[in-house]
């Protein structure tokens, strides 16, 4: 186990990407823009020796969608790269080519929030069932189930 990453180290690696802040001793958060997220992930992998993706957290904050890429490595510090995506065009470049496990997480986020990961090789459904209507994303704050829509399971007529 090597030493925790220092804020200056992260600031140096993330120059031109965003200004990191230490949330806790072992958590450093780097806010950035969707256009720079891929470069940020790449630098975390190479310059900060992150080799494990903990989670890509996805949040609908009511105004926009947020994605927080949590990465860690032998230093056991979680580097959180945070971006915001506009509601009307929720698109961001995929990180699955840099981080293979991100592929399955991105499919899940696409399923639940409708965020499009541009360049993802196989962005198909994984969590919701095959009968779920297209273009309905249940984790969006403004989503309401429509009583007349069939969301899967057993159809009423069949019972």
């Amino acid at each position: 186990m090597s030493e925790l990453l220092k804020l200056e180290q992260v600031a140096r690696a993330m120059e031109g990407i965003g200004t990191p802040e230490a949330v806790k001793a072992n958590r450093i958060r780097v806010p950035t823009t969707p256009a720079k997220v891929k470069e940020a992930v790449r630098r975390a992998l190479t310059d900060l020796a992150c080799d494990h993706v903990v989670q890509i957290a996805a949040v609908d904050n009511g105004k926009a969608f947020e994605l927080i890429y949590h990465l860690t490595g032998p230093h056991r510090t979680v580097v959180a790269i945070a971006i915001e995506l506009p509601r009307d065009k929720p698109e961001v470049a995929t990180a699955s080519d840099l981080l293979p496990p991100a592929g399955i997480y991105e499919r899940q986020i696409h399923d639940l929030l409708g965020i499009v990961f541009v360049g993802h090789p196989d962005l198909k459904r994984i969590i919701l069932n095959e009968d779920w209507p297209a273009n309905e994303f249940p984790m969006r704050k403004d989503w309401k189930p429509n009583p007349n829509t069939f969301y899967g399971g057993v159809r009423k007529e069949a019972t």
Binding site: V54, P101, L128
Partner: protein
């Protein structure tokens, strides 16, 4: 021979939830694997947004039947971090005892399932009998065998009496003997060595690249364990070590889990013997201040993550759960490539998937243009016959 797609699932009696695997096979050899876990989405993340912190804990306890304590602990410790609560040490120790007993019963269960998949049903019966002893301990302490209902925001709901502690300590030597027996068996028993060695190989580089977690990663020499990396509840106070192995196959994953059984037992013993006196909970405020917490936990199957957003109310704004099985999935899909069809049960079981499985397999015979079904038992029998006839590739 041409490639054929073998769909497995979504129903299988051996595991808990439904999943569908599409296995692309060339003869007996696996070429590719695809996964569909969409059969049992219950919308728990959405439901969690509608409930206050008192009512959401029992809901999260039901995310998983085996890791029930993991899901509540990771959540309440996240909320406590957001509320900046200092918990009494007694509460933390009780949580640790339940957490390690949960790991023990989960690993015993896994060892039994893995033994069953290779047709070694004696071991399956033995480990599940020993698991009963662990479940009895949990029942004596918490009142429940599965969903313990011990956690709440601010502490634990039940205290341990001196009698309960003594009764639990008395049960440990027997379990210790049993675990020592399994350590011996895994090193000498031919059935385990033949069927586990070299199966589902995952190198250290691949384990890291593919994001494997828990015993799956540790069996490939990756020493990530959240209990050490980001210590929570009482782990910083307890002497224990991270168990790793370098085999990188199902055999290594077995060694890691048996090693963890030994470690868990010592953690339970240490916590029972050194249980600090004092209160078991603190009063928590109704609402949590606006904040963002990434709560990490080493569940029996690996790193479990709850990402929590709070917004000055008594409900979470967002709860994003990342379970260890989802993290391990990418690595299974890779470690099965170039393996035998007969090894699917044991390689899939080796990550201890907390999803589900299969009651039948559709066998597509391209030449005969016939479609037939195979039950899980028949597939298991096929696996056993395949090895008995010495046709191992």
């Amino acid at each position: 021979m041409a490639e054929v797609v073998v769909p497995i699932g979504p129903h299988h009696p051996a595991l808990k939830e439904p999943v569908n695997f599409k296995v692309v096979a060339d003869g007996e050899t696996i070429v590719r694997l695809e996964l569909d876990v969409s059969y049992n989405h219950r919308g728990i993340e959405k439901a969690a947004e509608q409930r206050d912190f008192v009512r959401v804990v029992p809901l999260l306890e039901r995310v998983c039947g085996i890791c029930s304590h993991s899901h509540t602990t990771v959540f309440v410790k996240g909320i406590e971090e957001a509320m900046k609560l200092q918990l009494p040490p007694r509460a933390q120790y009780i949580r640790t005892i339940v957490a390690e007993l949960e790991r023990m019963h989960s690993h015993f269960l896994w060892l039994g399932v893995a033994a069953h998949e290779i047709g070694f049903n004696t071991l399956f019966m033995w480990t599940w009998r020993d698991r009963e002893a662990v479940q009895d301990m949990l029942e004596e302490m918490t009142g429940n065998r599965v969903n313990y209902g011990i956690n709440e925001v601010g502490g634990v709901r039940r205290d341990l009496t001196t009698d309960q502690i003594q009764a639990a300590l008395k049960r440990l030597p027997h379990l210790e003997d049993r675990i020592a027996k399994y350590v011996d068996m895994v090193n000498h028993e031919q059935t385990m060595m033949i069927r586990f060695r070299g199966v589902g190989k995952l190198s250290r580089v691949d384990a890291l690249k593919l994001g494997a977690v828990g015993p799956t990663a540790r069996a490939s020499g990756v020493d990530y364990d959240i209990r050490k990396d980001d210590p929570y509840i009482a782990y910083a106070d307890v002497p224990w070590k991270v168990v790793t192995d370098t085999h990188g196959d199902v055999y290594g994953r077995t060694l890691v889990r048996i090693g963890e059984l030994q470690e868990s037992l010592q953690i339970v013993r240490h916590c029972l013997e050194n249980l600090p006196a004092g209160p078991i909970k603190v009063t928590s405020p109704r609402a949590a201040p606006k904040g963002e917490v990434l709560s990490r936990y080493e569940a029996p199957r690996g790193e479990l993550v709850h990402f929590i957003r709070t917004n000055n109310t008594d409900k979470v704004e967002r709860l994003d759960i990342r379970t260890p099985t989802l993290a391990n999935w990418t690595s299974v899909a890779v470690s099965l490539v170039h393996q035998n069809l007969a090894d699917i049960p044991v390689v899939v079981a080796a990550i201890d998937p907390c999803l589900s499985c299969t009651s039948r397999i559709t066998i597509v015979n391209e030449r005969g243009r016939k479609t037939g079904e195979l039950t899980w038992d028949e597939l298991s029998a096929h696996g056993r016959a395949f090895y008995r006839n010495g046709r191992r590739a």
